[in-house]
């Protein structure tokens, strides 16, 4: 067996439990003192345990809501569908909300994808460098509105911030602790940022403010053809924008 085949089969078995890969490997393995099947299983368990741990650290509220057993199964399914394609596991799992939406078994938890997106947004901001600056919007030649590092906006169909608080407060932190009111569907908009003291901040905001923040700071398009916000809309939201702690007015001249 070539080294390339060895590596392909060992990883395929560890990640996917591929029976054909195991069948190719077994004739090339010693079966004593430990059965080769048991030895292979160690690697499969190690891979999925490490991935589950990494993903669970990023979405702790999801884990608390669905429980260890469900989350372990979810993590294994997600890992098989979306294995890490970069060495930093701390950034693996961004596709989990969409994966949850597509999983029939998750239909019983309609708020789960939003909760995952919320947890992931918090985690991403936690990795932002508080000493960096976010995108800046020139207001006048001398003044700019500067976003805090890690600025992000999230749209959810559930009040996931309150779901998260309820889980944190509930003994045992499970779904049974959630009131029906919290599970009612309604649009919510959140802004996330990294504060100067390096703490992660989140606040619920209005839909118009979310749209303005996305357009002005998060579209990634700074060209002259970038979508414009009508002046009257900006005027209406000026007070909210300036008072939002995720933004600060900065003099751009020395």
């Amino acid at each position: 067996m070539s080294l390339a085949q060895w590596q392909a089969d060992l990883s395929a078995f560890a990640l996917h439990g591929a029976v054909d890969a195991a069948a190719r490997l077994l004739p090339h393995l010693k079966h004593s003192p430990i059965p080769a099947e048991a030895a292979l299983a160690v690697h499969a368990a190690c891979v999925h345990s490490a991935l589950r741990s990494a993903l669970g650290q990023r979405v702790p509220t999801v884990v608390a809501l669905v429980g260890e057993e469900f989350f372990t199964t979810l993590s294994e399914a997600y890992a098989r569908a979306h294995p890490p394609t970069a060495p930093q596991l701390s950034s693996w799992g961004n596709g989990l909300p969409a994966f949850i939406v597509a999983m029939p078994a998750c239909a019983a938890y309609p708020w789960l994808a939003d909760m995952a997106a919320f947890d992931l947004a918090l985690d991403r901001v936690a990795w932002a460098n508080s000493e960096d600056s976010g995108p800046a919007l020139p207001l006048t030649p001398d003044v700019a509105l500067v976003a805090a590092p890690g600025l992000a906006v999230l749209r959810c169909r559930y009040a996931v911030d309150r779901l998260r608080d309820a889980v944190a407060e509930a003994t045992g932190g499970n779904e049974g602790a959630l009131s029906a009111e919290l599970l009612e569907a309604a649009l919510h908009f959140y802004v996330f940022w990294c504060a100067a003291d390096a703490t992660v901040r989140c606040r619920e905001i209005s839909e118009p403010l979310a749209e303005v923040l996305e357009t002005l700071f998060l579209s990634g398009d700074t060209s002259e053809t970038a979508p414009e916000i009508p002046a009257e809309r900006l005027t209406e939201l000026a007070q909210e924008l300036v008072s939002l702690p995720a933004l600060r007015v900065v003099a751009t001249t020395t």
């Binding site: 390339a4 010693k30 430990i34 690697h43």
Partner: protein, 253 residues
């Protein structure tokens, strides 16, 4: 910030897990770039990674998969170690892994494979004594004989660092004993005995007690480090002055 402060007072040993030195696709460039940035900034005394692979066709799996010790594997690992050492501009220590499955046909045993790698690339070796014990037990070898193999085949100056750790025992259905290198308990007495035997031959070598699961109270960790210090202090080493970092402290990571 904490690492910067520590570096002001102590030498560092950087221990990597992501280079995938055994990968047929080549060393992991992303991990190598990040490791290079760290070594440039912190100027550690020692830098190490494992004799294993974890990257396959662009997928990064968090495990240290074992290699068959074949001529083909030696060629691949040597090429990757050369690439890593070139990029880092320094010697890399390569650690013997914990092995659970063993190929039926190999061209080398583990000590011979590492000795050949040292000869071809000029790399050093991070000798993990717990891994020696785990691998020997899991593959039906005598741990003492395996350790003696390492000590006999490797140039003494090539062994730049030693690791110690705890392991757990799993009893399988038909009475077999499978050891798991889980870094979650005290160093086993049998591993301490191997360590003493190794230090008798090698002299004082920088030693790290690894404990990163089920962390105990600090005093338990400190006692483990102290035990390693006691072993090291009892030995006079003709090589200690030649070591890049002849400190006898231990640490936990």
């Amino acid at each position: 910030m904490h690492l910067r402060r520590a570096r002001e007072h102590l030498p560092l040993s950087l221990h990597a897990v992501g280079l995938s030195l055994g990968s047929v696709d080549g060393v992991c460039r992303q991990s190598l770039q990040r490791l290079r940035a760290l070594t440039d900034e912190f100027q550690p005394g020692l830098v190490s990674d494992h004799l294993s692979f974890s990257v396959v066709k662009g997928q990064y799996l968090p495990d240290l998969f074992p290699l068959p010790y074949t001529k083909e594997a030696l060629e691949v690992v040597a090429k990757n170690v050369d690439a890593a050492q070139d990029a880092l501009g320094r010697q890399l220590l390569v650690e013997n892994p914990s092995v659970y499955l063993s190929p039926a046909a190999q061209d080398f045993n583990e000590p011979d494979f590492l000795a050949a790698l040292v000869k071809q690339t000029g790399c050093g070796v991070l000798l993990d004594i717990n891994n020696v014990f785990v691998t020997a037990t899991n593959t039906g070898q005598d741990p003492n004989v395996m350790l003696q193999g390492f000590l006999a085949k490797l140039p003494r100056e090539a062994i730049g660092e030693i690791h110690l750790a705890g392991h757990t025992t799993r009893h399988l259905d038909f009475g077999q004993r499978l050891l798991l290198d889980d870094h979650g308990s005290k160093v086993d007495d049998a591993v301490w005995a191997l360590y003493r035997a190794a230090i008798q031959v090698l002299g004082r070598v920088p030693t790290l007690v690894e404990w990163d699961n089920h962390l105990p109270e600090w005093h338990v960790l400190a006692a483990e480090a102290l035990q390693a210090d006691v072993v090291l202090a009892a030995v006079h080493s003709p090589f200690s002055e030649a070591l890049p970092l002849a400190f006898n402290g231990t640490g936990n990571a």
